[in-house]
């Protein structure tokens, strides 16, 4: 179980003569991911979802708040002491083409972490061979045919499986998958998503999925929690299918409205929510961060910032003064 409380992160951009600029990447984010659970962070690029994922994986520092892994707060620990905790959280990057060293075979790629692991636990070379075959089988690859291959001899989907296999060599508790399928061919995407779901069920690995494509978030498990992030703030949170069917925050509704409708298969929603303006990340105001783009904004939204609170009678949470259920996703055409 990994939890975060009030995580903040501010990037300071070196500026010109007028001074530097601060970018609030995260503005006090809370999250909790159960052992074997699934969570998805969704939002536009620049919303802070990747930064949060990197902080959780221990690849980035945060300015405020506290991260706890298995009940142990990371704050008071020295970097060296944190290492074993963060080693159990492995990152899967978006681009499997650049995540693998092109001059190394799959065998070499997997053996680098396995050697380290073997030295720590006092295992021998045979264990390494067995473990390599085991993790490859777990990700649905045939060890005999892929071990001697180089990345360029594999398809995008197979490479991503090798990346996941490499992450599994260290027995992780959690995989942080950052847009892990967006560069994979469409016909193979579901295979990778199904694999992540399968690893959750079989190994009890938690999966944190970072994406801008809400639909993919369902496929790592419908029990997953969805965190909708806007400019560093969680604006809506809840079980993935509930949020898709019944979003109450206008930003969530905008995101869902923007998903292309498969005309012929689906019937577009009658009242999609379209944001008024494009994202301007440099605009700082005391009120709701989404107010400038919100078609439903009222006076209060300009002056006061709403905090995350429970949506009436549900376990969902939202950060909006005027939450309203709006059905914005396309419905399947009946009979198809």
């Amino acid at each position: 179980m990994i939890t975060g409380n009030g995580i903040t992160k501010t990037f300071r951009q070196k500026g010109n003569v007028l001074g530097s600029r601060e970018v609030h990447a995260l503005r006090g984010v809370d999250f909790a991911i159960e052992k074997g659970g699934a969570a998805s962070f969704i939002g536009e690029s620049g919303c802070g979802k990747t930064t949060l994922g990197r902080i959780i994986a221990g690849l980035e520092t945060h300015d405020g708040g506290e991260i706890s892994i298995g009940g142990t707060p990371m704050g008071p620990l020295k970097p060296k002491q944190r290492e074993p905790y963060f080693r159990r959280i492995q990152m899967i990057h978006q681009d499997p083409y650049s995540a693998l060293n092109p001059t190394r075979t799959v065998h070499q790629t997997l053996f680098a972490p396995l050697k380290l692991r073997a030295r720590q636990t006092g295992r021998d070379a045979r264990w390494m061979e067995e473990r390599a075959a085991e993790v490859l089988a777990l990700v649905g690859l045939d060890p005999a045919s892929v071990l001697s291959r180089y990345p360029h001899q594999l398809s995008g989907g197979m490479r991503q499986r090798v990346v996941i296999a490499r992450a599994l060599t260290v027995d992780p508790d959690m995989l942080v998958a950052d847009e892990a399928v967006s560069m994979i061919d469409v016909s193979l995407r579901l295979g990778i998503l199904a694999l992540l779901k399968d690893l959750r069920e079989r190994l009890g690995v938690s999966v944190l999925f970072i994406t801008h494509d809400v639909a993919t978030a369902r496929y790592i498990g419908d029990d997953g929690e969805l965190y909708v992030i806007y400019r560093g703030q969680v604006v809506e949170r809840g079980q993935v299918d509930t949020i898709i069917a019944d979003p109450v925050h206008p930003y969530t509704q905008s995101l869902l409205s923007a998903i292309p409708v498969l005309h012929g298969l689906e019937q577009a929603a009658e009242h999609p929510v379209v944001p008024l303006e494009t994202l301007d990340a440099s605009h700082e105001a005391p009120g709701c961060l989404f107010a400038r783009r919100c078609p439903f904004r009222q006076d209060r939204c300009e002056t006061e910032r709403p905090l995350l609170q429970l949506t009436d009678g549900t376990p969902q949470e939202h950060a909006c003064f005027y939450p309203e259920r709006r059905s914005v996703v396309a419905r399947p055409v009946s009979g198809v």
Binding site: S187, A215, Y219, A258, H263, T278, L279
Partner: protein, 328 residues
């Protein structure tokens, strides 16, 4: 200057790439008609030959690739495969606008957008450069941008969505009426993507264009295209009206591709990945159907005979199983 939306007819086009294993076809015997004033979407996975096919509309396939057979006939221009040198350069831009894949990165980082616009104008012999700038500003304004500001900006000062719109402006500013958009929304956010697609639809209508969109994302095509063409392994396997294909795909690959789309609602288990992997230039079968390795309806004939594209009503499908069913 008003022009009619031109039609284009790609006929039996084959494009080969020279490799150490000889010349391999990236696009093979493809025929596709772009009716004047329509938006056609070509969908395919990586290596399906969709970008190569789009480039051949400009006769711009780069060595080691070459168009080895077939013709690309564009109204008011003739067969572009036979055009060369200066003639060809003039046709690009004037007649055919091309928005490149990753238009975000196809701008010159050292020059402002305005300077690049003037370069474009000069190289095409535009005498009225002021008029060109005015036209560009209008186009950018039409797409919701501040034209003057954008023309004064360098690439790094613009967001991904803004650069994409600059790409569309540069493709249209010389009054081309056949426009090719290669992956226009890849790497953009959902909201920006929806915005760009809306612009594409509106500009297409207002200016009377014939538009071709190349994408790997069926959603993009579903959202904007009248007609859909599905490519696999260098072949066009199915084409027809977008809605009809989505509602009732016929080719097993189209069926599989649509089933593989992660959907927002409905039964999670209904969506399934297609088994196997798409072929690459080197692994495309030399004879027989290109899809047979992944096909559930594979028959003996598929191993040896390449299925011909056969018209079934408004649909053109290249599949033995579908043809057999039709004639049974």
């Amino acid at each position: 200057m008003t022009k009619q939306a031109p039609g284009a007819r790609i006929d039996d086009l084959t494009v080969v790439y020279k490799t150490t294993a000889g010349e391999l076809p990236a696009v093979r015997n493809v025929s596709l008609t772009l009716e004047p004033g329509t938006i056609t979407g070509i969908v395919g996975e990586s290596g399906s030959g969709k970008s190569t096919m789009a480039l051949s509309l400009l006769n711009a396939v780069q060595p080691p690739g070459r168009i080895s057979a077939g013709s690309v006939d564009i109204d008011g221009l003739g067969d572009v495969v036979t055009l060369q040198g200066e003639q060809l350069r003039k046709a690009r831009g004037r007649h055919i606008g091309y928005v490149f894949q990753a238009a975000q990165n196809s701008l010159n980082p050292l020059k402002t957008v305005g300077k690049q616009l003037l370069d474009l104008g000069r190289s095409h012999g535009v005498e009225d450069l002021r008029g060109l700038v005015k036209e560009a500003k209008e186009l950018l304004g039409r797409m919701g941008l501040d034209g003057a500001r954008v023309l004064d900006s360098h690439q790094h000062e613009l967001s991904g969505g803004m650069r994409q719109r600059v790409g569309i402006m540069l493709a249209l500013v010389l009054n081309a009426h056949l426009v090719v958009l290669d992956e226009p929304t890849t790497a953009l956010d959902m909201i920006t993507q929806a915005n760009i697609l809306k612009i594409v639809r509106e500009v297409h209508k207002e200016r009377g264009l014939t538009t071709l969109i190349i994408t790997h994302d069926i959603g993009v095509v579903a959202e904007v295209a009248d007609r859909l063409a599905v490519m696999y392994g260098g072949r066009l396997v199915e084409q027809g009206p977008t809605r009809e294909i989505l509602a009732e795909p016929q080719h097993p690959y189209t069926k599989g591709l649509i089933r593989a789309i992660p959907r927002l609602i409905g039964d999670i288990d209904e969506a399934q990945a297609l088994p196997g992997r798409p072929p690459t230039l080197a692994t495309v079968p030399k004879e027989g159907c290109v899809f047979r390795e992944r096909c559930a309806l594979r028959m003996d004939v598929c191993d040896t005979v390449d299925p011909q594209a056969v018209a079934h009503g408004s649909r053109i499908v290249a599949c033995h199983a579908v043809t057999v069913k039709e004639h049974a």
